[in-house]
């Protein structure tokens, strides 16, 4: 039994432990990520709310701070704090506080001074010997402000209180970012992220993670400030951390492994098979069931979280009074959700493509609805005037499914592993045989699991993807059937890429001719031959990106070395990479240079395997060098040649780096090859389903070539 322990540990216990640790880790991570997620929602809503008042109800805001505070309370916001004099407003959320403002008298002074300067939108001032940024939203004399306090600031760069407008500041910040003395990433991250996105983000400031949402000015162009929310504790909106289900699954896997272990050891070839089977089933199924129950609970918690967020949005919206006056898209942003409006049960306008019938079916105040293949959580809000607004958002619980899916898959793998182990343990003929089998499987298990998870499963998943519209940013993944394949057949750009790839692969026979010549030349034991072989091999092992850059420079039509050399012979100048008619040719020439050494090495091995007696016999018969080459060398090299041809062609179908670095598929798609085309579709146009369909076509072609290779090689190698 002792001998069994090591393979057993490897096969069952180790994966279970890894799985459990992974589960705990990811549960922790998602728990930690939940707070910032909610804060982002909150900050975004705060900004929208403030913006709304800035634009439309600024008067109301300025006229009466008391009224504002009352409204805030109604909205579920704890309060709007009024700082110093007049109009500065800071939004505070329940159980979340803004960053420590620590404005004190000095800060208040600075704030006011900046306000008086009129259109200064961002200031960096020193407060308590620390650099502090102040971001303002100047608005017809009123000032809505939030401050962000950095632990350290770019003091050296700015000195004391200097006013910059935001655009200038952004530019300066970017320039400063490359300096050594720029202090940490905190202020930079914030400003970069704020400038880059129009939505709330999670940003690291100092050591804490906060949610920040940018303000923009009237024409929605410049970022003029930010609302930053820092959590004080768990948000009451979300009663329990999600992903409890994941944790449960991991624990279940551990438990199952433990039980399986006990049962198997207990068995030791003695116990009655039927009883064992029942125990086994229990050991695997019970924890899985428990995990399923917990996961279901987890989903419900997430669903409640979604409802709570919608409820908050609903309160924001219903506070607005006359909903007719507000454009629907603004309303949507205000609510942090998609909004669809129904006036007297008629669909008037909608930001989403929602058919009237679908919305008319809504009965309860909150719930889930499927519109156009996409699931939404909705909340109906009635305004004072009796209008109805529907707020729609993505259900939080849906986003948990992917992770649960993968974990369930891992659990399945584990269960299969345990079953295989157990059945082997019970069925092995002799102790020795069992020992060897166990050892072998434990040796293979790591590779096998990795291959299954990261190669086999993705291969099938790509196939699945190719039948679905799949955009990373869109939650809806509609089934399109053969749509992508049909589109592919009529896609001129795809065929162009296929054609370019085929032309590019012509470098293979070219290179083979050169490589064979070089191999024959260097297939002799003379001094320095090792160095020469190394030189030929060099391009193949060096950085392809560096090579691409160098060749791009050599191909430069005006100053490149190629046109210079050709010019010495009275040729050229050629446009090389700059013209659609020569760009692909340029790539082919480079490919020959790169691959010649690799093929040469294989040819050399093939040459050395040819018995010398053949040549000697031919010499005696009086055959010349040319004749010996055609009659002996070439026929004897046939398997090598065939191997090089097929593998190189398969390799050439997958060219990417050169195209990406040198031409980006251009000019005019002249160097757009299949893999680059797939890359573009998947990551630039975000059409991952369509790109998967293309990649499967490529796979099919390569598969066919490989099969032909096996068949031909097999025939040639079988003794006839």
């Amino acid at each position: 039994m002792n001998r069994l322990r090591i393979p057993f540990v490897l096969l069952v216990v180790a994966p279970a432990v890894i799985l459990a640790l992974g589960g705990i880790y990811s549960a922790y991570r998602s728990w930690a990520a939940l707070g910032p997620e909610l804060d982002r929602h909150a900050a975004a809503r705060a900004v929208e709310y403030m913006r709304f008042y800035r634009d439309d109800l600024g008067e109301r805001l300025r006229a009466s701070p008391e009224r504002l505070a009352a409204q805030a309370a109604e909205l579920g916001l704890e309060r709007f704090t009024v700082y110093g004099a007049r109009d500065q407003v800071v939004v505070t959320f329940p159980d979340a506080t803004p960053l420590p403002l620590a404005l004190g008298d000095e800060g208040g002074e600075a704030l006011l001074a900046a306000a008086r300067r009129g259109n200064a939108v961002v200031d960096l001032v020193m407060i308590d010997d620390r650099a502090t940024w102040l971001a303002y939203l100047p608005d017809e004399g009123s000032l809505t402000a939030a401050t962000v306090r950095a632990e350290t600031g770019p003091t050296d760069a700015f000195g004391e209180a200097v006013a910059y407008d935001m655009a200038l500041y952004l530019g300066t910040a970017r320039a400063l970012a490359s300096r050594d003395d720029w202090p940490s990433e905190l202020s930079r991250t914030l400003i970069d992220s704020l400038a880059g996105f129009d939505r709330a983000l999670s940003v690291e400031i100092g050591e804490e993670r906060v949610a920040a949402a940018p303000f923009k000015d009237f024409d929605e162009w410049d970022v003029t400030g930010a609302v930053v929310i820092r959590r004080a504790g768990m948000d009451p909106l979300m009663p329990a951390p999600p992903f409890v289900g994941m944790l449960a699954l991991a624990l279940a896997a551990g438990l199952a492994a433990f039980f399986v272990a006990r049962v198997t050891f207990e068995a030791g070839g003695r116990a009655e098979p039927r009883r064992l089977r029942r125990k086994f089933a229990l050991a695997l199924v019970t924890p899985a069931l428990a995990a399923a129950v917990l996961a279901a609970g987890d989903a419900r918690v997430s669903a409640r979280g979604t409802d709570s967020l919608l409820a908050l949005s609903g309160r924001v919206v219903s506070d607005l009074g006359n909903l007719d006056a507000i454009p629907i898209d603004r309303l949507a942003r205000l609510a942090g959700a998609d909004a669809a409006r129904l006036t007297a049960d008629t669909l008037a306008a909608a930001t989403i493509d929602a058919p009237a019938e679908a919305l008319a079916e809504l009965h309860s105040e909150t719930g889930r609805i499927r519109i156009g293949g996409r699931r939404f959580a909705y909340r109906a809000v009635a305004s004072e005037a009796g209008q109805q607004i529907f707020l729609l958002t993505d259900p939080l619980e849906d986003s948990r499914k992917t992770a649960l899916f993968w974990l369930a898959g891992l659990y399945g793998l584990l269960a299969v592993g345990a079953l295989i182990y157990a059945s082997l343990a019970l069925s092995a003929g002799s102790r020795m045989e069992l020992r060897e089998t166990m050892a072998a499987w434990s040796f293979i298990a790591p590779s096998l699991v990795l291959l299954l998870v990261f190669s086999a499963a993705p291969l099938l998943f790509a196939f699945y993807l190719s039948f679905h519209g799949w955009n990373l940013l869109e939650p809806a993944k509609p089934f399109v059937g053969l749509g992508h394949y049909i589109e592919l057949a009529g896609d001129g750009l795809f065929w162009n890429a296929a054609k370019n790839t085929a032309i590019y692969s012509l470098y293979v026979p070219l290179t083979m001719a050169c490589a064979l010549g070089v191999a024959i030349l260097l297939n002799r034991s003379i001094k320095g031959v090792a160095l020469l072989r190394a030189i030929f091999f060099l391009p193949y092992i060096t950085s392809f990106v560096a090579i691409s850059i160098v060749w791009q420079w050599m191909y430069d039509p005006n100053f490149g070395i190629f046109n210079w050399i050709l010019g010495l012979f009275g040729l050229g100048p050629f446009p090389w990479l700059n013209s659609p008619s020569t760009a692909l040719l340029a790539l082919i020439i480079m490919a020959v240079w790169i691959h010649i050494g690799f093929q040469m090495v294989i040819f050399l091995a093939g040459l050395q395997a040819i018995p010398n007696e053949l040549y000697e016999a031919a010499m005696i018969d009086g055959a010349g060098a040319w004749r010996r080459f055609w009659r002996i060398t070439l026929p004897m090299l046939r398997p090598t040649t065939f191997f090089v041809l097929v593998t190189s062609i398969i390799g050439s179908f997958q060219v990417f780096t050169f195209v990406y670095v040198m031409t980006e598929g251009g000019p005019l798609h002249a160097t757009d090859v299949i893999v680059y085309h797939i890359y573009q579709n998947a990551w630039q146009f975000l059409r991952m389903g369509y790109a998967s369909a293309m990649s499967w076509v490529l796979f099919a072609v390569i598969f066919a070539i490989t099969l032909i290779q096996f068949r031909l090689l097999g025939r040639r190698m079988t003794p006839s």
């Binding site: 072998a440 293979i444 030189i535 060099l538 050599m554 100053f559 670095v661 490989t706």
Partner: protein, 273 residues
Amino acid sequence: MNRRAGNTLVYILAAALGITMLVPFVWMLSTSLMDEFEVFQFPPRLWPADPAWSNYSNALTAAPFARFFLNSAIMSLFIVTGHLFTAATAGYAFARLRFPGRDKVFILFLANLMVPVIVLLIPRFLLVNALGWVDTYMGLIITELVGVWGIFLMRQYFLSIPRELEDAARIDGAGEWQVFWKVALPLSRPALATVALFSFVETWKSFLWPLIVTRSMAMRPVEVGIAAFHSLYLSNWPYQMAAAVVAVVPILLLFLFTQRYFVRGIQLAGLKY
């Protein structure tokens, strides 16, 4: 034609070809030392009059190259270790141990060689994205830990060495792990070295996956970093060439000292297919 004359001819021809092969490298080095005026001279100067070594320090500080190298090093360390482990264990099992289904599983492994990486790219990305590993070392490493090619090479190697020693160890009562670890593994050092080298070079040169799975400059490995540098300094050829030289040198040095392993590796994997 006597032998000596023939050899001289071969030398001349081979040297001429060899020099042609080296032209891009020399041109790279030479351009990396030119100042901004020399670069745009026509006809081009073959070697700068006054080598501008400052190009290197300027280019290297213009982008976080140290970080790029660190990332590549970390990535390579883990992936090479993973390859060595999986190749040695699985290769040993396929070569030495008898168990039901061995050949079928081996064919399943080999079938992986037929799958072009691009097919796996999108689903792998979605998987890594779902796990929250985009732009992390985990994302760079996790999908690459096993190399079928290495397994195949190790299997071939184990088949080529005699198994008497292992059997002797078994008779002495060693377990399978002990036999593998204490007897077979020490004997397979040359093959392990080949696997390590190849997976290192492959990892160091890998481009598409790191390009996709990293987003921030701080996570880019050298190849992707250089490509980004290339697009930032498009018209400054001396800087770009300096960066290219820096990217090429480590692998070049490695290759100079370990040449014979490369040749053997290619021939082992290439011909016994």
